[in-house]
């Protein structure tokens, strides 16, 4: 296990040649020198990068050896594996049987690895040897270029080996004295991303920093633009079905957009607001069948685990049915997303978000008319301070959630909890989209118990929907001639799912109690105070 010190070689010339010159003095020997094509892999949201992991596919350009998957973490080579297939692994289940593969899988979850930048690299490894010819330190020189010839900074790494720190320090001093070296922490992967102009990693969390003194119209526009960027970023991955998270994040952006439109009463012109609310409702609706199918497939391994090992295979017909259904839903979704209706919605929406300040009155009203009047004439809140408008909407949503939540008791019907979940979502989206107008502390106190309450309500509703769907699949499997073992296994799974839902229902009182506590109510009240103070 070694510690690595990385440098950029800033001087001109081939550092490998200089190192060769130093070989005798420093006791260095060239161990290997290979030219490889490297493809850096990560999930679209950069989960490996965030964990300090570099995963790369190396194809030797000399000698015809098979490609190798290389995993480097915390500057340490963790594992390598030759690949039988010429393509890189896609999902966690495709990773080589590395002992640490479950760690990578836990980071990746359902996300696919997508190929990032490609480089052609000469990697030269030199070893410093002692009298026994034991390696006491390693020097790795990485001279890489992009396919278009753009050269990456030449990196030189000194690998200190455990128990031989002194030897490595001595070597490092010598190298620093002889070569023009600048310490760096940037990896070749990061350099390649930067120079290749690779798009930034996707993120599902909003990173807005709204100006509390801005007018509401501008704050609403900023939020809607950010959400539109999220939809755009996830559009291609949704069409290609790269992994289920693209569609998930696309839908979240659509739902948040709908919510912001709903809360935009008095901020947006009424005609345009109604028009786009209907448009985004349609966009959300067309994505629902595939998301449901994705969720069933994602949940299946967890459901299978609930069964005794000897009954696991019995659910294979269900797996086949779900895969078939998911493919059909995806085909339908691709058609809808490529439709003229979707394209027109996108164009109108982009035009609507263009510009700044309050919108002209009903530039897109129901009758297609263009009434005269100054901007904001039909939107009385558009020119008010954003923080004041947002605080009023949050207060209203909070009061509603508290009122409805208190009315729930052990005998309330399931629909009451489902409606409450909608109330909770409405409040959560408001806090997520407009939270940056307020001091961070109050927002996080307000969000934390809300999140926990949403988890419980979500589990309750999801398990109900899931149990219902599984019953439906049971009927379909019967029509397809599924045998008794499959139906019995399905029955056992439905029982487990229902039990989980019942547990969530029992948890409700405690979770709502935490949300409805004096401290949390205080945090919500302070948001209104913050708005007053800001004006």
């Amino acid at each position: 296990m070694s510690e690595v010190h990385r440098f950029v070689v800033t001087g001109a010339g081939d550092p490998s040649a200089v190192l060769a010159g130093l070989a005798e003095r420093a006791g260095l020997r060239v161990v290997s020198s290979t030219v490889v094509e490297r493809t850096f892999l990560d999930t679209a949201d950069g989960r490996l990068d965030a964990a300090g992991i570099v995963l790369e596919l190396r194809r030797p350009l000399e000698g015809g050896a098979s490609p190798t998957l290389v995993w480097v973490e915390a500057e340490r080579l963790v594992a390598t594996a030759p690949l039988d297939a010429p393509t890189a692994p896609r999902f966690a289940s495709d990773l080589p049987p590395w002992p640490g593969a479950p760690h990578l899988a836990s980071l990746m979850e359902m996300r696919a690895l997508v190929p990032g930048p490609v480089t052609r690299s000469r990697l030269t490894t030199l070893a410093a040897l002692d009298r026994e010819e034991k390696t006491t330190a390693r020097v790795v020189v990485d001279a890489s270029a992009l396919p278009d010839g753009t050269e990456l900074p030449v990196l030189l790494e000194v690998h200190q080996l455990r128990g031989y720190q002194r030897e490595a320090e001595k070597l490092e001093k010598l190298l620093v004295a002889r070569l023009a070296l600048e310490p760096t922490t940037t990896t070749a992967a990061a350099n390649a991303r930067r120079l290749a102009g690779a798009p930034a990693f996707l993120r599902s969390k909003l990173r807005l920093s709204l100006d509390p003194t801005a007018v509401a119209a501008d704050a609403w526009r900023d939020v809607l633009r950010e959400l539109t960027a999220a939809m755009t970023a996830n559009f291609a991955g949704t069409l290609a079905d790269t992994d289920s998270e693209f569609l998930h994040d696309f839908r979240v952006a659509v739902r948040r957009t709908r919510s912001v439109l709903q809360e935009g009463k008095g901020v947006l012109p009424p005609g345009a607001r109604a028009h786009f609310r209907a448009g985004f409702k349609w966009l959300g609706d067309i994505t629902t069948p595939q998301r449901d199918a994705d969720v069933h497939l994602l949940d299946l391994p967890g459901l299978v685990q609930l069964l005794p090992a000897d009954r696991v295979d019995a659910l294979e017909p269900l797996h086949e049915l779900l895969v078939e259904r998911q493919r059909a839903c995806h085909e339908q979704l691709v058609g809808d997303l490529r439709s003229w209706r979707r394209a027109r919605l996108g164009q109108e929406w982009a035009a609507f978000l263009d510009g700044d300040g309050p919108w002209p009155p009903d530039s897109l009203d129901g009758d297609g008319g263009h009434p005269d009047g100054p901007p904001g004439a039909d939107a009385p809140d558009a020119s008010r301070p954003a923080i004041v408008v947002a605080a009023a909407r949050i207060r209203k949503a909070h009061r509603r959630l508290v009122r409805d939540g208190r009315a729930i008791h052990a005998g309330s019907p399931a629909t009451a909890l489902h409606d409450l979940r909608k109330d909770a979502k409405r409040l959560r989206y408001l806090l997520e989209c407009f939270g940056s107008l307020f001091p961070t502390g109050d927002v996080s106190v307000a969000v934390k118990p809300l999140k926990a309450l949403q988890d419980t309500l979500g589990t309750f509703q999801d398990t109900e929907v899931q149990a219902h769907a599984l019953e439906g699949f049971g009927d379909e499997l019967v029509q397809r001639g599924a045998g008794a073992p499959t139906l019995l296994a399905l029955g056992a799974v439905i029982e487990h799912v229902s039990a989980r839902g019942a547990a969530a229902r029992r948890q409700y009182a405690e979770r709502f109690g935490a949300f409805d506590s004096r401290a949390v109510r205080g945090a919500y009240e302070r948001l209104s105070d913050d708005a007053e103070a800001a004006t």
């Binding site: 296990m1 070694s2 594992a79 390598t80 594996a81 640490g100 010819e133 034991k134 455990r162 128990g163």
Partner: protein, 248 residues
């Protein structure tokens, strides 16, 4: 962290070659591996080209004056480190006798590096002594190379009996035997391989052959798969590791 000890009461059966080659095999498959050379002869240390010297000797380690972390040396291979041998370890029995809980000593020392390694290979000297009992307590499994001779099987059974009959010494220990130094040109080896499997069906399927490559480890001072990758001997250790890993 799993602790595996290559052990046999008999000497010259291929314990060190097993420890070095399996450690290398596990490391290239991505396990974080530590080899602890407990044999004062220091053959494993020699194969890794490391100086057989521990600062303060075994006494400093057993008494707790020095922790394992300070004496670990990186090998030439990624994911593979070594606790080198030290001549003072020939007195390990005496050193352990002087410690408070002799049987628990090795386990205690290893605990301090448990977060850093997935696997530890203890390369043990041949004998049954207080030191080997401390190994039995620290290890999850004993890897026992068995030469296909009737005497070797007898020794293996002795070991098995000891493990079974001394629960105060051994808490939980898997004893994994496999044939080592098998020369298929010898009729006797071929016959005994068949006969002894009937006596001990629990012996692993993988067989380590008696091949010059393995003897040449001393010349190259490297694991077989490092200087002769893809050869019969390298493949044999690879198959042995696959089988042990599955069993673990």
């Amino acid at each position: 962290m799993k602790v595996l000890a290559t052990y046999n009461i008999k000497g010259g059966v291929g314990k060190t070659a097993t420890a070095v080659n399996l450690a290398y095999e596990a490391a290239i498959r991505g396990h974080r591996v530590l080899v602890w050379d407990l044999d004062p002869q220091g053959a494993a240390t020699f194969y890794f080209r490391i100086r057989p010297k521990v600062k303060g000797g075994g006494k400093a380690l057993v008494s707790g004056r020095r922790v394992l972390d300070e004496i670990i040396k990186a090998s030439d291979y990624e994911n593979l480190d070594v606790v080198p041998a030290d001549f003072s370890m020939r007195n390990l029995d005496l050193l352990l006798e002087g410690s408070k809980k002799p049987l628990a000593t090795l386990r205690r020392l290893l605990k301090s590096v448990a977060h850093e390694y997935d696997l530890v290979f203890l390369d043990c000297p041949p004998s049954i002594s207080l030191a080997s009992e401390s190994v039995f307590r620290a290890a999850d499994a004993l890897l026992v190379p068995v030469i296909p001779t009737t005497l070797s099987i007898r020794t293996f059974e002795q070991l098995d009996r000891f493990v079974e009959e001394n629960p105060e010494v051994v808490e939980e220990l898997d004893v994994i035997g496999f044939f080592s130094m098998v020369d298929r040109r010898k009729r006797l080896h071929r016959e005994l391989l068949v006969d002894l499997r009937q006596v001990r069906p629990d012996l692993l399927d993988a067989v380590i052959p008696a091949i010059t490559d393995i003897e040449r480890m001393g010349v190259h001072r490297q694991p077989v798969a490092a200087f002769a990758p893809g050869t019969r001997s390298a493949r044999a250790y690879s198959a042995l590791w696959t089988e042990i890993n599955e069993r673990l």
